[in-house]
Symmetry: C2
């Protein structure tokens, strides 16, 4: 495979592409808010755990710190403009559910609301808050997961997440997922092995 | 916007899509290894910091713990089969650089090698290791970033990361990035504002 000359860039946040999610928080409708984040990820398989990193000056920071709970709502092509808007505007000035006309649903295990329009919702309970610099990292256990019913195959009960039109975030842009290259392990499948 | 009935799934790692990267480690050629990971992300902007989560039984776990350094190498469509192979096979059995015929380059700030064929390399120094369960989270400072020269616009010097054909990982599958929906802030651009 061809290699290229390398140029050095300043140390920065160049890990791409990233997830982009709407994090909902608050324990009652007057406290509900949504923050859009790409600084989020999976950190442990058993138990299932994830994190979100949030600047201390953001409106949702204090809400999540107070309640120690949040919901990660995956986003879709259809929801992308709302997702972007929730990342640009502040909950100090807007009731985001009302302004964007989206629907809070009662969660099972946390007081923070699910976003009904999101294809998949992940209820999270904060276990630890780690101050890092501009951002604090909220480390959380996954307590419950909900998906849109039509994403479940009616016979196999397998989740067809491809049907959700999820969105990826790379270097400041939102993208649909494109061509499927293969599934995990494709390089060693019988007859297709690279080595 | 239409909403759907929700069904509950067991608590699990359903945050998607995720990054997928090759993490290179080791301080000398006989120790060099590559582990492919989706449990990785950005955790702080200033200073720039990221994490990788690794199972304790993985070969790279001890190498990274010993050296407290690693390099995150972004992956591309062209590199995807090699990326997958490095995630399926163990460094205990294979010299992955030799077997996959890829090229280690000397990094600037760490002893772990850059992968020459990767479009973008992020040198990382481990600051803390947090045991979580199946995985330990390695929290790291970004010390240096390198990109393929042809990704830099010759006049503006802007990085054109779209030219790298980066790969996203969602629910067990590798995808190219597809249709660009917009850039951060598109929902409030003049004349296009949702509200």
């Amino acid at each position: 495979m061809k290699t290229s000359s390398k140029i050095s860039l300043p140390p920065g946040n160049m890990l791409n592409p990233l997830p982009v999610v709407m994090v909902s928080c608050g324990s009652s409708p007057d406290e509900y808010n949504i923050i859009t984040l790409a600084w989020c990820g999976t950190i442990c398989s058993e138990p299932p755990m994830c994190y979100v990193s949030i600047r201390r000056e953001r409106h949702s920071y204090e809400i999540i710190k107070r309640n120690m709970e949040f919901v990660i709502n995956l986003t879709s092509k259809e929801l992308c403009a709302i997702t972007d808007w929730c990342g640009v505007r502040s909950g100090r000035k807007y009731n985001k559910f009302q302004t964007m006309d989206i629907t809070p649903l009662t969660a099972d295990k946390v007081k923070a609301p699910l976003i009904a329009e999101s294809p998949l919702n992940i209820e999270c309970k904060v276990k630890d808050i780690i101050p890092l610099g501009s951002h604090d990292m909220f480390i959380a256990d996954v307590l419950a997961v909900h998906a849109n019913e039509e994403l479940l195959n009616k016979t196999s009960h397998a989740l067809n997440l491809e049907g959700a039109d999820l969105v990826s975030y790379s270097h400041g842009n939102y993208y649909c997922l494109g061509q499927k290259i293969g599934k995990f392990g494709f390089s060693v499948e019988k007859g297709k092995s690279k080595k």
